[in-house]
């Protein structure tokens, strides 16, 4: 950049820096400021000083007590996702690769699919699992559990999933699921204990319907659904969207 161009960019940035740090610049102007900041130490120092003032501003808001119910709203989602992460286990999203080091949100967040979903603020509908039906049916025990539907892009208020299990044969009942992502299908997995999820031999693309699961499902197993490339995958390549735990 020529000296003249630098000086021009510097002057523009110096004038706009207050608006920039307050978030009051339109995108194109903010981008120009950012570009200049990358090459001007003086403006970086000025920015740091102004930012200290801006960081103090939220403390000027009159103190208001957060509604107690909000805590449960937030924590119910957090707990469901923590459990989901635990359920996904170390094997999720790890194709035949080196052994995983640790499970956890950090690992999941490092995955592009999860990070992208989180960044996009995708609809998160955490429906706490509970038994909604059950009893004897032809001598066998039939249990139906509501499934958790998480991180499904395009999910609406009526999106739901439930799992019906009779004699270790399970049927996943989905309602108003969004279309799978382009060139992908929904794939069902069964996870037994702390083991890695295994393919249930079942994929689907329907938005609403009852999907028989080929793999047996026993008490304590978890049934997961992820979006996978057409034809399915040997191991999940995206975070689970649906989790069901038969009672």
């Amino acid at each position: 950049m020529s000296g003249e161009a630098f000086t021009r960019a510097h002057d523009e940035t110096a004038e706009a820096l207050g608006a920039y740090v307050l978030g009051a610049l339109p995108d194109d102007e903010a981008a120009r400021v950012q570009a200049h900041l990358g090459e001007c130490e003086r403006c970086q120092e000025d920015l740091a000083a102004l930012r200290l003032a801006v960081d103090a501003l939220p403390r000027a808001a009159p103190p208001v007590q957060a509604p107690p119910a909000l805590k449960e709203r937030v924590m119910s989602v957090v707990r469901a996702e923590a459990e989901l992460l635990q359920a996904a286990g170390e094997g999720a999203d790890r194709a035949p690769a080196p052994p995983p080091r640790r499970r956890g949100l950090g690992a999941l967040l490092a995955r592009p699919a999860f990070a992208a979903a989180a960044a996009a603020g995708l609809a998160i509908a955490a429906i706490v699992g509970f038994v909604i039906g059950g009893g004897a049916d032809n001598g066998g025990s039939t249990r139906t559990v509501q499934a958790r539907v998480l991180s499904v892009a395009g999910a609406g208020p009526t999106t739901s999933a439930a799992l019906r299990v009779q004699d270790h044969r399970a049927t996943l009942m989905v309602r108003d699921m969004p279309e799978p992502p382009a060139r992908k299908v929904y794939e069902v997995w069964v996870k037994h204990g702390a083991g890695a999820p295994v393919p249930a031999g079942t994929t689907f693309v329907v938005r609403s319907g009852d999907i028989p699961i080929a793999h047996t499902v026993k008490p304590g197993d978890q049934v997961l659904v992820t979006a996978e490339p057409g034809g399915g995958s040997p191991a999940p390549t995206s975070p689970p969207m649906i989790v069901a735990r038969p009672a």
Partner: protein
């Protein structure tokens, strides 16, 4: 910190009294590994400040709740991005709340986002002085408000419209019928004065 990290686990309970002794930054590390109990403490420590900012900006209880919820869930899901060298957890949380509130304001109509508090003052902390920490924060808040009040009125106004109102400089210029260059100048001058009057308070708060 290694001791704290070794306790990392996935849990929905906040019954681990050891967690209460951990600093925010250590709790964030646990939270980023999926520890719901650690995250709950972060929530409890900062939710009132977060909600206060959201309410101040959005002016409506329901929107403020949604903004606060979105912000904390974003924090939970992006904990790995927290960088302690760039400020306190509180500043980080409030930054997320501010961004989310701006998004909410800009999604709504300009006329809907005046700061008319439509729900009265019943939620205010007037009779609430729970802890020394709370008292200290009230003092901080009073100091920042006093520093803002000391600014020339035109500088205070543009800062508040931009920061709490989510208005761009051109919107403010139109609202105040002043050139954009003037608005930018007031913003910078006002922030510099604010920084000066706050003095070393910021470091003490961080």
């Amino acid at each position: 910190m290694s001791d704290g990290m070794s306790r990392a686990r996935i849990s929905g309970s906040s019954g681990d009294s050891g967690l209460h002794r951990l600093a925010d930054e250590d709790l964030m590390q646990l939270s980023s590994r999926g520890d719901a109990a650690a995250f709950q403490l972060i929530y409890e420590r900062h939710t009132d400040a977060a909600y206060s900012l959201a309410y101040r900006m959005c002016g409506r209880r329901g929107v403020a709740e949604d903004v606060t919820q979105e912000a904390f869930l974003a924090l939970w899901r992006s904990g790995t991005r927290y960088d302690r060298t760039r400020g306190s957890v509180r500043t980080w949380v409030l930054g997320i709340v501010h961004n989310r509130a701006i998004d909410a304001l800009r999604r709504s109509l300009v006329h809907d986002r005046r700061r008319a508090s439509d729900e009265g003052l019943e939620e205010r902390f007037e009779a609430r002085e729970r802890t020394d920490v709370e008292a200290a924060r009230r003092e901080e808040a009073a100091s920042v408000r006093a520093a803002l009040d000391e600014l020339p009125a035109e500088q205070q106004k543009v800062i508040e419209l931009a920061y709490f109102g989510g208005f761009t400089h051109s919107e403010i210029a139109e609202l105040l019928d002043a050139p954009i260059g003037t608005i930018k100048g007031r913003m910078r001058l006002g922030l510099e004065k604010l920084r000066g009057s706050l003095g070393g308070m910021q470091e003490a708060m961080s």
